[in-house]
Symmetry: D4
C-alpha cells in the first residue's frame, strides 16, 4: 500500500509509530489506523479533524476523539500511569490547542500530567502562585506564543528540565511563531531545549522519554 508502517518502532523507542493526520485523507488515516490496531499496536493520531475521526470510528468503535487536542486514540493495551509528573505550563488561553496536544499525548503515553494554564509572565503572580506545585514536576513542558518569555522565566525558577514549545499565536512581527521560537532558542536560562512551533506532540514525546528515566532508573 501507500504507507509502510514502522512496526519495529515500538521495540526501538518504547512506543509505536504515531499517525500525523495533517496531510492525509480520512480514508488514508482509517486504513493506517485499522492496520495498526489489528497488528496489536496502540493507535495515536495527531492533527486529526472531525472527518478523520468519523472515518476511523466506522471501523473502530472504541476510538476516542480529544477535540481541543485534535487527537484520535485507540488502545490495545491497558493504560499505565507514571509516579513522576509531567507539568504542562501554558502562557495564554490561545495556546490551549497546543497545550492539550502535549498533555493528551503525554497521558496516552502513560504519564501522569498536571496542567497549569493561562499563567503567562505579564501577570507574574499567577505563575508565582503555582511555582511550588510546578517545582514538583519531573519534567516541564512550557508553551507560549508571542514573545515566548515563559520558558525563560520558568528556567530561572525550577530545577527540572524544560521542553519549550513556541506557538504561532500572535500576529504581525511574530511571523507565525518565529518570534517565540527564536526567543526560546536564545533563552538566557539554562536547562531549556526547544521543539518545532506548535509541536505539542513532539514536546510530550521527549518529556515522556525523560520521565520514564525516573521511573526505571534506566
Amino acid at each position: 500500500g501507500f504507507a509502510k508502517i514502522d512496526y519495529h518502532r515500538e521495540i526501538r523507542k518504547g512506543f509505536p509509530e504515531v499517525i500525523f493526520c495533517g496531510g492525509k485523507t480520512p480514508q488514508q488515516v482509517k486504513e493506517i489506523a485499522f492496520n495498526m490496531y489489528k497488528n496489536g499496536s496502540d493507535v495515536l493520531g495527531t492533527r486529526a479533524s472531525h472527518e478523520h475521526f468519523e472515518a476511523v470510528r466506522e471501523l473502530l468503535e472504541k476510538a476516542v476523539y480529544y477535540e481541543t487536542a485534535r487527537i484520535i486514540s485507540i488502545r490495545n493495551t491497558p493504560p499505565r500511569k507514571t509516579k513522576g509528573i509531567i507539568g504542562v505550563v501554558a502562557a495564554g488561553t490561545s495556546d490551549l490547542a497546543v497545550a492539550e496536544e502535549a498533555a493528551v499525548t503525554a497521558e496516552l503515553m502513560g504519564n501522569t500530567v498536571k496542567r497549569f494554564y493561562d499563567v503567562g509572565v505579564a501577570g507574574l503572580h499567577r505563575l508565582l502562585d503555582k511555582i511550588e506545585e510546578i517545582r514538583e514536576c519531573r519534567v516541564i513542558i512550557a508553551i507560549a506564543g508571542m514573545e515566548g518569555a515563559l520558558p525563560t522565566v520558568l528556567g530561572g525558577l525550577v530545577g527540572s528540565p524544560i521542553i519549550a514549545v513556541p506557538t504561532s499565536v500572535g500576529y504581525g512581527a511574530n511571523f507565525h511563531g518565529l518570534s517565540a521560537l527564536l526567543a526560546m532558542l536564545n533563552s538566557c536560562a539554562s536547562g531549556v531545549s526547544v521543539v518545532n512551533i506548535d509541536n505539542g506532540f513532539g514536546a510530550a514525546y521527549s518529556a515522556s522519554l525523560i520521565n520514564k528515566i525516573g521511573e526505571e532508573g534506566k
Copy 2:
C-alpha cells in the same frame, strides 16, 4: 560643506541635532562639532571612538568622553536635572555599552537617571528586589539581548511607559539581535514600545521627551 547641520532642530524638538559618529572620519566629526559649538549649541556625539574624541579635543578642550557609552559631550548651556526619574534597567553584563549610551544620553539631555543593571529574568529575585525603586521611575528604558524577556516581565509589574531596547548580545539564532527585537515587538505586556537594536540613544531621546511632559505638564 559635506554636512548641513539642522540648527533649527533645537526649536522644533527642544534639543539640537546629535552627531552620529558611526560612519564618519575623526576629521569630519571634529569639524561638525566645532561648528555646532561655535554656534552656541550643546554638542552630543554618539558611537564615538577614542580617535573621534582625540580629534575633537584638539579644538575643544572642554570636550568630555564617556568611554563605555562611547559618547562625546561639549556643553554650552548649564546642566539641568528633572524631578522625574528615567530608570535604565539592563538584563546582563554584556548589555552595558548600550545601557550606558542610554543613561548618559538621558543625563546629558537634562534628566535624572537611575541605573538597575544585571537584573535579567533568569534570576528573577534580582529584579523583584529592586521593583519598588523601579516603580518610582516616570519612564523606564528596558535593555536586553538574547530572548529579550525583560521588558515583558517589567511590563507586567509596573505602570510607567517602557521603551524597550533589544541588544545584539548573543550568538547563533539570535541573528544579531533579531530574536530580542521580535520578542519585544510581540510583548504580551502592554505599555511597551521598541527602538532599533542597540539603539540606547534613541530610547533615551524618547524617554526624555516623555519625562519632560511630567515636568511641565506640557
Copy 3:
C-alpha cells in the same frame, strides 16, 4: 476555567486586562467579558468580530461595538477625558482599521483624541496643512503601511514623543508589514518608538500611559 483573568492588573497598570478576541471563540469571549463585568471591571475587547459582539450582547446589553475599530466595550465606571490630547495620524485610507483601533482604545482609556487621516507623505501639503494642530498634541500615534515614512517626517516636525505603528497595508515586497516596520525602527528622526505591525491597541496603551503623566505630573 480555561482563563485566569488578571484582576490585579488594574492596580499595577491603572487599567484592567484587555481581551484579545483574535484566537478565541464567541463563547469564550462572552464568558470572560461577563466575569470581568460582574467583577466591576471595565471591559475592552479588541480584534472582535460581529460574532464575538453578538455573543457578548446576549448577556450584557450595554455592550457597544465599534465596527471599523473591531472593538467591544462595556463600561462599569464613568468615562473620563484628559486635558492633554493624543493625536492619531494615519497615512492612507487603507490604514483606517488600525487607526480606529488606536483612537477608540485611547478614548476608552479616558484620553482626548484627535484624528488626522489620509495625510501620507506622498502629498506632503496635506500633512503640512495640519502640522500646527498636530504639534499641540501631547503624544502622537503615527500609522503607515508600505514604505512607512510618515513617523520619520513627523519626527522631524514636532517635539512630542511619537509611537509609530507599521501596518500590513501593501503587497509584494512589503512582506505583510515588514517594510514599514523596518523603516520605522530605522527612523533617522529621534523620539520615535515602535509597536508591532497593525498593533493600534498597543500604541494607544503606551500613548495613554504617557498622556497621563502630563495630567498628574506623576
Copy 4:
C-alpha cells in the same frame, strides 16, 4: 585571457563595458583597463581601491582617481555635457560615497550633474529650501539609508522620474540596507524605481540613458 571584454557593448548601449574592480586583483584591473584603452574605449572602473589605481597608473599615466567615489577614469574621447541635468539628492553625510559614485559616473557618461547633499527628511526645511532647483532636473537620483524615506517625499514633490538608491548606512534592524531597500520598493509615491543597495553606479547608468532621451528626442 581570463576576461572577455564585451567591445560590442558600446554599439548596443552607447557606453563601453565598465570594470567592477570589487573582486578583482590590481593586476587584473590593470590588464583589462590597458586592453580597453588600447582598443580606443573610454575606461571606467568602479569600487576601485588605491591599490587598483596605483596598478593602473603604472601603465596609463592619464588615469584619474576619484577618491570618495572610488572610481578610476581614463578618457579616449573628449568630454561631453548634456543640457538636461541629473540631480543627485542624498539624505545624510554617511551616504556620501554612494552619492559620489552616482554623481561621478553620471558626469563621466557625459551628463550635467547637480548635487544636493545632507537634505534628509528629518529636517524637512533643508529639502524644501532646494525643491525648486531639484524640480528643474530632468532625472533625479535619490539616495538614503536607514528608513529610506527621501525618494518617497521627493516623489510627492517633483514630476521627474526618480531612481532610488538604498544605502547600507545604519545598524541593527537596517540589516545592511534591507530596511531602505524595502521602503523604496514600497514607496507610496509614483515614478520611483529602485536599484541595488549602494549601487550608485547603476542609478547613474539608468539616469544617463533617460537623460539622453531628452537631448536627442530619441
Copy 5:
C-alpha cells in the same frame, strides 16, 4: 470624509492621484471616483474587482473596465498618444495580469504602447525574433516571474532604459516573487531599475514620465 484626495497632484506630477482599490470597499471606491470625476479629473482605479466596477458604474456610466488588467477608467479629458513607444515585454503567459496592468496604465496616461508577450528566455529565439522591434521603443517595461532573467538578457541587447517588474508567478523557493525581485536588483546588465513585485502600475508610471521627456525635450 475618510479620504483626502490629493487634487494638487496633477500639477506636481502631470497626472491625478490614482485609486488603489486593493483594500477598499466598492462603496469607498465609488465615492472617491465620483468626487474625482466631478472635480474634472481623469479617474484611474487599479486592482479593481468586478464588484468595484459595478459600484462605480452605478454613478458613472462611462466607466470602462479592463478585465485582465483589473483597471477602471473614466475620462474627463480627450485621449492623447505619444510618438515615442513604451514596450511591454513579458516572459510567460502567467505574467499576463501584471503585463496588462502596465500596458493599460501606460495607454491611459497617454502613451503609445507595444506588447511583446510570452518571450521568456528559456526559448531565446522568441525574444531574438522581436529584438529589432523592441529596440525601437523609447522605454521598456520587462516583466518576469520565477528566475526573473528577462530584464538582464534584454539589458544586454538594447540601449533604452528598462523598468523591471518581478512577478509573484512561481512556487516554492520563489517565495512569492522574492527570487525574481532579487535577480532583477542584482542584474549584471546596466540600465535596469526595479519596482515592487507585481507592480505593473508603478512601472508604467515611471515609464510614462520617461517617455514624456522624449516628447517634450523637457
Copy 6:
C-alpha cells in the same frame, strides 16, 4: 559592581551561575571568577579565550583551561560521576569545538560522558558500528552542521531522549547554522529537542538535568 552574581542559582538549579566569557573583558571575567570562587562556588567559564584564562590564573592558580572546548574550570567541591552516561555524538571533524564544549561541561557538572566523533550519516556504517554503545547512554547529545541529519537518523535508532545541537559548520546556504537548526526542529524522528546553534553548553546543561533524574529517581 557591574555584575550581580546569582548565588541563589545553585539552590534552585543544582548548579551555580556559569560565566559566559563571550562579550566580557579578561578583567571582568577574572573579577567574577574570583568572587564566585571566594564564595565557595565551583566556577565554570565558557567561550573563554587564552587571554581570559591567563587573567583568571593570575589570581586562581588551580584554574584549568580546556583548549578545544574553550572552557575555564575552578573547583571548590570534589568531582562526582554519575552511573548513567551522556553520549556526545558528533557528525564531522569540524564540529569538534562544539562537541568538546558539550562534553567538558557535562563532565564538570558531574556526569559520565562517552564521545562518538566523526560518525556523520554520509558514511552510515561508522554510526551503525557504534550504535549498540550509543544505545546504552541515558541521554544523547547529537551535534551536526550542514544538513543536520544526524539527530534524525539517531532518533530512529535509539530510545533515549536526544538533545540536538546545530553547528555553524558549512558555507553558502547554511546561513551560519540555519540549515542545521531548521532541519533539527523539523526532525521526522521523535524524542528530539533542540538548543541554539553552536550551544554545546546548553545541550550539556539540559542533558545533565535529565541524567540526574536517573540517578536519584527524583
Copy 7:
C-alpha cells in the same frame, strides 16, 4: 494568441514544451494543448486540476489524467522505455503527490521507473531493506519534506547521481519547505543536486536527460 508555444524546443532538448497549468484557466490550457497536439507534439500538462482535465478532454478524447500526480497526458508518438531505471525514493506518505509528479513525468518521457515510497530515515531499516534494489537504478530522485535527510543518507549509500526534491510537507519552522531545501543544498554527502520545493517535474526532467546518456552513450 496569448501564448507563443516553443515548438523548436523538441529539437533543442529532445522533448516538447510542457504546460504548467498552475496559473492558467481551463480554457487557456485546452487551447494550448489542442494546438500542440494538432502540431504533432506529445502533450504533457503538470499541476493540472480536474477542471483543467475536463476542458482538455472535450476536444481531445485520448487525454489521460493522473490524479495523484496532477498530470494530463496526450500522446502523438508511441511510448518508449529505457533500459536504465530511474528510482523515485520518497520519505513519507505525505510526499506522495510530489513523488507521483516525478514518477509519471519520467515515465511519460520514456523512462523505466521504480518507486520506493515511505522509506524515510526515522525507520532506517525500511530504506536498508531496499538499498540493493535502489543501487541498481541509474539515477535516483530522492524526495523528502521536514528535515530533508533522505538524500544525504542515500548519498552515503549509493553511487548513482541523486536529484533531491524538498517538499513543503511539515509545519512551523519548516517554512513551507525551506528546512528541507536548505538541508539538501548543504548535504554532507556528494553527488546530490537539488531542484525547487515540490518540483517533482523538474527532477524527472533532469533525471531523464541523465538516464538517456546511458542509453545512447551520447
Copy 8:
C-alpha cells in the same frame, strides 16, 4: 584520532572521501592526507590555503597545489580521461575561483573538461559564439553570481543536463549568493539542478557521476 576517514567510500561511490580543509588546521589536514595516501587512496583536498599545502608537502613531496582552485592533490593511481566532456561555463571574471574548483575537481576525478569563461548573458553574443562547442558536452556546469541567469539561458539552448552553481559574487541585495541561488532554483528552463552557493566541488562530483554513465553505459 579526531577523524574517522571513510575508506569504504571509494567502493560505494567510486571515489575516496575528499578532505574539506575549510575549518581544519594545517596539522589536521596533513595528518588526514598522510593516512589516506599511505592507505593507497588518491587524496583530494578542497578549500585549501597555502598553509594547508605547505604542511602537506612536508610529508608528501608529490603533492600538487592548484592556486585559483584552492585544491591539493596527491595521486596514488594513474590519471584517466573520459571520452565524454564536462563543460564548465562561467558568467564573469569574479566567478573564477568557483569555476576552477569545479574544473580541477572534475579533472582529478578523471574527466575531460572544457572551460568557457566570462560568457555572461549581459553580452549574449559571447555565449552564442560558443554554443555549438558547449552543445557537444555531455554534462554542463553553469556558474554565475548576481542575478544567476546563465543556467536558465543555457537551459533553453542545450539538451545536456545542467548543474547550476550560484556564487556569492555581488553585493547588497545579493545577500551573499541568495539572489543567484533562488534564481537557479526557480529556473523556467528544464534540466537544471542546483548545488550550494560557491560549491564548485559538489557540482563537479555530480557531473562526474553523470559523465561516467556515458562511458560505461552503466
